[in-house]
Structure formats: C-alpha cells, structure tokens
Symmetry: C2
Subunit: 219 residues, 2 copies
DNA sequence: TCCTAGACTTAACGCTGTTAAGTTTCGGAG
DNA sequence: CTCCGAAACTTAACAGCGTTAAGTCTAGGA
C-alpha cells in the first residue's frame, strides 16, 4: 500500500535537495548566480531533472523566498503582542530592517525587482493575514494608531500611513544595499542610522506632543 | 588637414546612433531587453561594431544614464535658488520623485541595482558638485537647515539628515515601481501619496512648532 | 603605387533557460 | 513469472546572450 507514499516522500527529498542547493547559491551570490546547471551539479543530477520538481527557475527561487519569509512573519507574530501601536510600529520597523540586512538577496528579489503580477494561489503566504503578510501587519497597526487618535488628524488613512512608514524603512534598506560601497555617501553606523529613520518617521506621523488640536502651522 | 577631424566626427555619429537605439530599447523595456544584437539590428551594423565604440554593454547603458541624469541636475540647479532650505528640500523631493517616475528604467539601474564600485573618472557627473550630484545638493541643503537651527537638536549631522530624507523618497519611488501592480497594496493617488511622504519626513526632522527647547519627551 | 591604420564583418566560444525524445526503473495486473 | 505503464531521470539539442579572435575592405599618406 504505502508504496505511493514512499514515492512521494522520495520525491520530496529530491525537491528539498534542489531547494537547499539553490538556496546556498542564492544567499551567497544572488539570483543571477543561481543556474539550473549549477544546482544540478551540486546535487549530482542532470539540469533537466529540476524541471520534474519545479516549473522553471523562477519557481525554485520563489519557493526559497516564500519559506524564508515565513521567518519574518514569525518575528512579527511576536511583535503583535506589543499593545501600544506606536511601540509596535517601531519594533516592526527594526525587525524588518534587520531581516532585510540579514537576507539581502531574498529582500532584493522580493522587494527590489519587478515581477509579473504575483499569482497568490501558488504561494504559501496568505495575503491579508497579518500573521503571515507583513504589509497586513503594518496596516493593522496603522489603523489602530489612527483609531486611538495618536496620529495627526490629516493622516486618517491607514493605507497611506502604512505606505509612508514602509517607504521610509524600505528606502533605508534598499539604499544601504545598493549603495553601501559608494565613496560619495558617508554612511553612518547602521544602528544609529535606522534608529534615526524610524524616529523621524514616527515623529512625522505622530500628533505633536501636547499641542492642542487647533494650533498647527499650515506651512 | 581636417581629415582626422572628419573621421572623429563620423565616428561620433555612429556612437550617437548606438546610444539612441539603445536608449529607445532601454526606456521601453529595461536593461535586460537591451541586447547588443538588437542594438546592432536597429542601426544596421554587426553586433561587434558596437565594441569599437564602447567597452561593453554596461558602458553603453552607463553613457545613457549619465547624460539623462544631467537633466535632473538641471532641475536641481533651478531649485538651488530657493532660499529657505526647508522649502528647497521639499521642492527637491518632488523633483526627484517626478524624475524617477518619468524615467523608471534609468532610475532602476542607477539606484535599485548594485554595481561594482563606480569608477568616477569615466562618468560625466562630477561627484560632490551640487550642480551635478543630487546627493551633494541634499547634503548642502541639510547642512544649511542645521546651521539655521531649523532641525531637532539631535539631528546635528547633515549626512544623516540627508540620508533620512533620501531614504524616504527613494523608498516611496522604488516601492511604487516594483509593487505598483500588486493587488494586496492599495496605492493612493500619486500626488497625494508623495506629498504625504515629504510632509511626514520634513515634520519628522523639523524642530517642533513653538515648543521650547527643554520640553521633549524622551520616549 | 604600396603600406598601414582604422572601421567593420564573420565565425566562433562558452554561457544561459528550456524542451523533445529516449532510457531506465519498478510496482502492480494478468 | 511476465508484461505493461507510469514515473524518474538523462542526453542532445535549440535559441538566445555577451564577448573575442581573425579576417576583410577602404582610404589617406609616403
């Protein structure tokens, strides 16, 4: 009976081999360096064997990114316990930046290269579920901050607020990644720098400290 | 006598043909779509002819980006006339975002893909000259804002301030570019969105309105 | 008239992702 | 036990890429 299941299990083994070999290449040298032939050589199969397990090269690398991004989701799940939405937003910002800097090639592929409209059905990640989808998490937190009246009254749109803070942190991350070795920009220490970015973003959206609602400059 | 100059002139013509053909491909379809063979076909030369005018494919595309980026520099030169550094920073932010959205492929190549340490001698752009180098422009403006005491006292580092606002706007631009068609993020109208990003960044770095120096929360 | 320098082409190399066709292996049915 | 069919895998190839070595052709200068 269990014959079929054994076959499935064996196939799963090869699939995992492929993913592990591809991941090693990917984290070390990035998308371009991952070659069907190199993966094949690493696992001692022929290049075409990979196509029995994945539709194409993109599918291989998407599988890697999907599984690895669940680790970020796990960290977010912890952060979700923070009650204060502002503190939560800050914590998420740090976690996001830290994750990105630790997995630069994953990050680059997922957030810095354009893709054909991602078909959600073939991904593990559940869109809109804030335990799996980082954007949904930020959106949820922004909505809560608005509801508690913590933000400036113009910022009544959670989607907009989420996009603002996401942009700031993503901008910091991606500039660091692509321009880290440029001689014409003097990067400050990573910790100090990301702290400043998060601090400025939060202050920028926050309702001013003890300034009564009516007293705002229009400039 | 003028024979040599004529030869030089003729060579320049071919060089320009190459650049024009390559630019057309580049703006329409991006780096990957620019192929030595396609350029060659467009100008009715053999692919190898291109190598008589450019070291390699990268050199062709760098030449395009360099010349086109001088247009951004021209806009910045106008903005340099704005006296108030805060207003100048805002104006530069809008100009930067506008330029990026109008030349997405240029922008992607220059700011969203990693390069081997750029050798400055073979580029037209003069690093550190704020009339040609956009980063130098922002740096200069940030330094002036600090000097005039317009920013929060912790932000006494022009380089850091420049990086913060650059990150925010670059983040907005690059997210828009790569994730513009994602169904899971509801982008707000471009104008409203970039205005919010710039507004939040500026408010985040600005000394609070009429809050005396001693009264800041440490949280 | 001959020579040389430069512009250009042809043919090729080694690499890529991908596919059509062929081989090998093996559990299950007759 | 034999045969079949399906699944796993390989070999060989295609079309494309950037790049280069070698050869051709043209025209100005001696």
């Amino acid at each position: 009976m269990g014959m079929k299941e054994r076959r499935v299990r064996e196939k799963e083994v090869v699939r995992t081999k492929i993913l592990d070999a591809a991941r090693a290449l990917f984290v070390a040298e990035g998308y371009e360096a991952v070659t069907m032939r190199k993966i094949a050589a690493a696992i001692e199969y022929s290049p075409t064997a990979i196509y029995l397990h994945f539709r194409d090269k993109e599918a291989v690398i998407n599988a890697i990114c999907d599984t690895d991004f669940l680790k970020l989701a796990a960290r977010f799940r912890k952060i979700a316990e923070v009650a204060d939405p502002i503190a939560r937003l800050k914590a998420a910002g740090f976690a996001y930046a830290d994750f990105a800097m630790r997995h630069p090639n994953h990050y680059r592929l997922m957030f810095m290269t354009p893709h054909p409209p991602h078909s959600p059905d073939e991904s593990v990640i559940e869109v809109g579920n804030r335990d799996q989808d980082a954007y949904a998490f930020v959106l949820w937190t922004a909505a809560e901050a608005i509801e508690l009246g913590l933000l400036r009254p113009e910022l009544d749109d959670a989607e907009l607020v989420a996009q603002i803070v996401w942009a700031a942190i993503h901008g910091w991350v991606s500039l660091r990644m692509t321009k880290c070795n440029e001689p014409w920009v003097a990067w400050r220490p990573q910790k100090r720098s990301i702290e400043a970015v998060i601090d400025v973003s939060i202050r920028g959206i926050l309702r001013g400290p003890a300034v009564s609602a009516g007293r705002k400059l229009k400039a």
